[in-house]
């Protein structure tokens, strides 16, 4: 009996939910600034993509 829950498969899940969240938070903190090195280039790439998406919305969705 852990936390008032008898089945290890259930209290296990309860605790794993918390652990996986803590893991993701730590991962995010450790990598907070990684992957942004070539940001300028990525933004330009994204811009081209968005322009095309905008065209799609105008031509096909008629927005």
């Amino acid at each position: 009996m852990v936390l008032g829950i008898p089945d290890p498969w259930v209290w296990g899940a309860y605790i794993l939910c918390i652990l996986i969240t803590v893991f993701c938070v730590i991962y995010g903190l450790v990598n907070w600034n990684r992957g942004g090195e070539d940001e300028e280039e990525q933004i330009m790439e994204e811009l081209r993509w968005e322009e095309e998406e905008k065209r799609m919305e105008e031509d096909e969705l008629g927005l």
Binding site: C17, T21, C24, Y27, N31, Q42, W49, E50, G62
Partner: protein
């Protein structure tokens, strides 16, 4: 219903949303290059708006209600949602999808697959699956919101559904108010705080974490005999291994949604709109925290509502909710929480439904217009806009009609079914597209078609819930389903995904590998 409190809450809410929308509008107006500037949004704003779109009424009302029926074993879904839906999706799938989507200038998910494998067929077949399957998901999101209005405002369900449909129609016609991330972020923040308030006060109401769980364990004898007969054991223990209850919980609810999320077209497209890999790294932190607070709280509260209803009314949650699991969360909030809270919660659920629905209809519109119509015609037709808009209107209508026709306790199941169909048709092809350079066009076609056919066949002839309701198997073969236990309770995802993967790999290995040039172009910079 207290009109004064309701009025004040609605007023404050709209003032806030209006103010935030105005600020966002001012900022984009004064910025010279608003698209580039928009890319530099604060990560908090990005993550909150992502969360508000990701979590819909289905997750809170539908799956929270399922937790009231199946108990806390459903917490495995929270674990998978964070591990698969956030960590694996962002870190392993998101980065590649983003880069490759840009390399191939793909704007929709079927287009992504079509260009990766040089196949128009993949694009329109994928588009057709999305267009045909999405109304089911859209309609359960509608139902989830309508159930909450029904309970909170005491309106008739039909009226609530029409009310929702009208709001959706206006919203979609106005273009879904895309790009207004600030309002999304505000809604996300309210949802986040609302769920924390809900779970903390529920634990407080029931005497603390351990006591609340203990009380839930102590009433496991109240599980109805009917549920016990098919494997239920209590709300703090798993169903009997291999029983129908166990299969439904594990294969449909937990695996179907937990793994199926990787193949959701409207979420995959989001990876392509992310600014850089750094945003994905940061998204892991905020996304995990957000999903944890939203789903974990909803499921814990759903399960614990049994204790509350037992103490207050002497019955379990699903009985208190009149036998409809979709009403457990709305009814619990109405009975146990302060009135102002249920109004705020209703408004945030409405906005959660809106943001999800507009994304769904957007994906559906492009699926029929761009992926099916234009790809089949091989060019931009002059009727593209007409087809797309017509498609969206038809989609909204089907969703509303389904909203009336579908039975109770359907929100979670309907969501799970749609996720399962997507996973069976797209998952193995999508994984191969971004990880396996040897995969061929023929392999991808074989994988997608076999997955779609097998899961459709399973839904029509073998999966008990759907086969019985449709009655086709009975008309053709005499029995409600074809094969015996446990198959009638095994979700299509468990059959469809492996079959699709086998076809994908086998046919790929038997056919000519794709040209180096094409692979180079797709995987450039990955």
């Amino acid at each position: 219903m207290d009109l004064l409190i309701l009025g004040i809450v609605v007023l404050i809410y709209f003032l806030l949303v209006g103010y935030v929308g105005y600020v966002a509008w001012r900022r984009t107006e004064t910025s010279e290059d608003y698209m580039v500037a928009g890319r530099r949004t604060h990560p908090y704003i990005m993550a909150m708006s992502y969360g508000a779109t990701f979590i819909s009424t289905a997750a809170i009302v539908g799956f929270g209600g399922m937790a009231g029926v199946f108990g806390m074993g459903i917490l495995w879904l929270v674990f998978l949602n964070i591990l698969v839906g956030v960590f694996i999706a962002f870190v392993f799938f998101g980065k590649r999808t983003r880069k490759m989507g840009h390399n191939m200038s793909a704007l929709t998910f079927p287009e992504f697959l079509g260009r990766r494998f040089n196949s128009r067929f993949l694009q329109y077949f994928g588009g057709a699956i999305i267009f045909l399957g999405m109304p089911l998901y859209a309609s359960v999101v509608l139902i989830g919101a309508a159930r909450f209005i029904e309970t909170t405002l005491g309106l008739d369900f039909s009226i609530a559904l029409i009310l929702m449909a009208v709001i959706v129609a206006v919203y979609v016609v106005l273009g879904g108010i895309r790009g207004v991330m600030y309002t999304d972020a505000l809604q996300g923040t309210i949802m986040f705080l609302g769920m924390i308030f809900l779970v903390v006060s529920t634990y407080y109401l029931l005497g603390g974490v351990v006591d609340a769980h203990q009380a839930l364990t102590n009433i496991s004898h109240l599980i109805p005999a009917k549920a016990r007969a098919i494997g239920a054991t209590g709300w703090t223990s798993m169903p009997l291994y291999g029983s129908p209850y166990w299969w439904t919980l594990l294969s449909t609810i937990i695996l179907g949604v937990g793994v199926g999320v990787l193949a959701q077209p409207q979420l995959i497209v989001r990876f392509m709109t992310v600014k850089s890999n750094r945003e994905l790294n940061r998204g892991v932190l905020i996304g995990a925290l957000f999903i944890f607070v939203m789903t974990w709280s909803a499921y814990v509260v759903g399960a614990l509502s049994n204790v509350y209803f037992f103490r207050k009314m002497g019955m379990i949650a699903v009985q208190a909710a009149g036998g409809n699991a979709d009403k457990i969360i709305p009814f619990f909030i109405k009975s146990a929480m302060p009135e102002w809270f249920s109004y705020i919660f209703m408004l945030t659920l409405l906005s959660a439904a809106m943001s999800t629905l507009s994304a769904q209809f957007h994906v559906q519109g492009t699926a029929i217009g761009r992926d099916v119509y234009e790809t089949v015609r091989r060019r931009k037709g002059d009727r593209s806009v007409l087809i797309t808009r017509g498609g969206i209107i038809i989609a909204v209508l089907i969703a509303v009609v389904l909203g009336y026709l579908l039975p109770g306790s359907i929100v979670a199941q309907g969501t799970a079914l749609f996720f399962g169909i997507c996973a069976a048709s797209f998952l193995s092809v999508y994984v191969a597209a971004i990880f396996w350079k040897r995969a061929t066009r023929q392999g991808a076609i074989a994988g997608m078609v076999s997955g779609a056919i097998v899961s459709l066949f399973w839904l029509l002839f073998e999966y008990k819930k759907t086969a019985e309701a449709l009655g086709i198997a009975k008309a053709l073969f005499g029995g409600p389903v074809i094969a015996a236990m446990p198959w009638p309770v095994v979700d299509p995802i468990l059959v469809g995904v492996p079959v699709s993967a086998i076809f994908m790999v086998a046919v790929s290995l038997l056919t000519e590998p794709p040209s180096d040039e094409h692979i180079q172009k797709c995987f450039n910079g990955v």
